[in-house]
């Protein structure tokens, strides 16, 4: 079980409150976590990653165990704190005004 924290607007879209939990079959990576998240909540497709290229949207970041993993390889294994559910995988919206 992997815990994922979504930004407020994506929680609204997905009609969830608080964290969501997902099951990842096979190695847990950023790609497999996001794949599983989008399979569980199809309304999130295109909102975190581009529909076609699967590139991260520019104003979103991925935080893992207090580190910014946004530029890590999408298939790099996530640490055991994430895979065990001890720490959440954070999807963060960039701070901006207006």
């Amino acid at each position: 079980m992997i815990r994922v924290v979504l930004p407020q607007h994506l929680r609204t879209l997905a009609r969830v409150s608080g964290e969501v939990t997902i099951e990842v079959h096979g190695p847990a990576t950023q790609r497999s976590v996001l794949d599983a998240l989008e399979n569980s909540y199809p309304v999130l497709r295109g909102t975190i990653r581009d529909h076609v290229t699967h590139e991260r949207r520019p104003f979103l970041r991925f935080f893992v165990c207090s580190e910014d993993w946004s530029h890590e390889a999408p298939d790099a294994p996530l640490p055991k704190e994430i895979t065990s559910g001890a720490e959440p995988f954070l999807i963060i919206g960039a701070i901006a005004g207006g």
Binding site: P7, Q8, H9, L10, L13, R15, E38, P42, V43, L44, R45, G46, T47, I48, H51, V52, R57, F59, L60, G93, A94, A96
Partner: protein, 394 residues
């Protein structure tokens, strides 16, 4: 008694304003999709309870929302809130998937347009500016997007497909973004000929198809734009808005960057009808519901100063199809008013006494229940208004 429903898109959500036919007392619903930019909300002429909304965000991209109950509840087409798709019916979660058609079979290999530095730049999807539901099919709806292209859904917004003949027009490499981006912001469906569609792009100009969207031609003859090297070029004009009266589909009125224009031959030839307007810069233009020669604009001081002349907010009305204009100011602020009225932010209802509506970047939505003679604000303090549409309900 008839009712009206005003659909307002703002920088921070959508609002629905409802009233009876008197249009004096209003119920305000919203914000829907709070915190998101709502570029446009529009109802289907076939089923007025079917609404579509373009919800966008610099963070999370594009979302398409749909309501089947007149705006009480919303969902993303093909997702939760709707009946689950039948097994094998295909993936869900694609209602926000706008991918340019570059296939060999139906698309065009053309993938670039003119960029600010004069080089060619690939088309990149940014957002849906305008949604135009079909006049005939409740599940058919068009979307005008940035970077400029026209998409169509025939399944109520679940999936979208480009009509690539427009972007593939051989003038495409000469299209260029205006200050607001290279957006397809106007879609006019011909009420008499289902295969004829007019669209407008900033800054490319107006285009028309007569074959249901397979092929398109620029219809900009007669336009003159001093901000491009050849002022009478085939494309490159910054058209802000086009309006049509249903009874005369070959007559179109255009608010260009500068100049108010008119055509009576479906865009083959335009002529200027700015006449005695105090300034002919502006964004919105619309036509009275029952008088095809009565036209409304909101003059804006200039392309450098996007606010009304002298701090006085005035709608101008022509009852002669242009050239002769009268200011309409009763009930509108006549001092210290420096708002703008954006291109999709004016609409008319079709009650016997035609109602006219417009929204401002200051968050006001003004209504006139007597064709513009008298105005009153429905709301004063919304976020900046991006779009206004009106439904006349039985």
């Amino acid at each position: 008694m008839s009712k009206v429903r005003v659909l307002v898109g703002t920088r921070k959500g959508a609002f629905i304003l409802s009233s009876d036919g008197k249009r004096q007392k209003w119920d305000v619903s919203g914000p829907h999709f709070a915190g998101w930019e709502i570029y446009h909300v529009k109802g289907s002429p076939v089923d007025p309870n079917r609404l579509y909304a373009s919800q966008t965000s610099g963070w999370f991209g594009q979302i398409i929302q749909r309501s089947d109950d007149g705006g009480k509840t919303w969902h993303q087409p093909g997702s939760a809130g709707e009946k689950p798709p039948a097994p094998g019916a295909g993936p869900v979660g694609e209602s926000n998937k706008f991918v340019y058609d570059a296939s060999d079979q139906t698309g065009k290999p053309l993938t670039t347009h003119q960029w600010y530095d004069g080089t060619q730049h690939p088309w990149e999807f940014k957002r849906v500016w305008h949604i135009e539901p079909s006049l005939r099919e409740v599940d058919t709806v068009y979307a005008g997007i940035e970077d400029a292209a026209l998409f169509r859904s025939t399944d109520g917004g679940k999936t979208w497909h480009e009509l690539p003949g427009l972007r593939g027009n051989d003038t495409g490499p000469r299209w260029q973004p205006g200050a607001g981006g290279m957006c397809l912001h106007t879609i006019v469906l011909d009420p008499k000929d289902p295969k004829r569609i007019f669209i407008a792009i900033s800054a490319a100009g107006a285009f028309r198809t007569d074959d249901g969207g397979k092929t398109w031609k620029p219809i900009n003859q007669g336009l003159r734009s001093e901000h491009i090297p050849d002022p009478t070029a085939e494309v490159g004009h910054c058209v802000h808005r086009i309006a049509q009266h249903r009874s005369r589909p070959n007559t179109l009125f255009m608010q260009k960057h500068w100049d108010v224009m008119r055509t009576d031959d479906a865009g083959d030839n335009w002529r200027e009808v700015s006449g005695d307007l105090p300034t002919d810069f502006g964004f919105v233009i619309d036509v009275h519901a029952h008088e095809p020669e009565t036209v409304y604009v909101v003059p804006i001081k200039s392309d450098s100063e996007h606010f009304p002349l002298d701090g006085k907010l005035r709608v101008y009305r022509s009852r002669t199809g242009g050239n002769e204009w009268e200011p309409l100011a009763k009930g509108l602020p006549q001092s210290d008013c420096y708002v703008n009225v954006l291109r999709d932010a004016m609409a008319v209802d079709s009650l016997d006494s035609c109602g006219v509506y417009f929204g401002t970047t200051g968050g006001q939505v003004y209504a006139s229940a007597d064709a513009g003679n008298n105005w009153a604000p429905i709301v004063r303090d919304l976020p900046a208004v991006l779009s206004v549409e009106v439904q006349t309900l039985p």
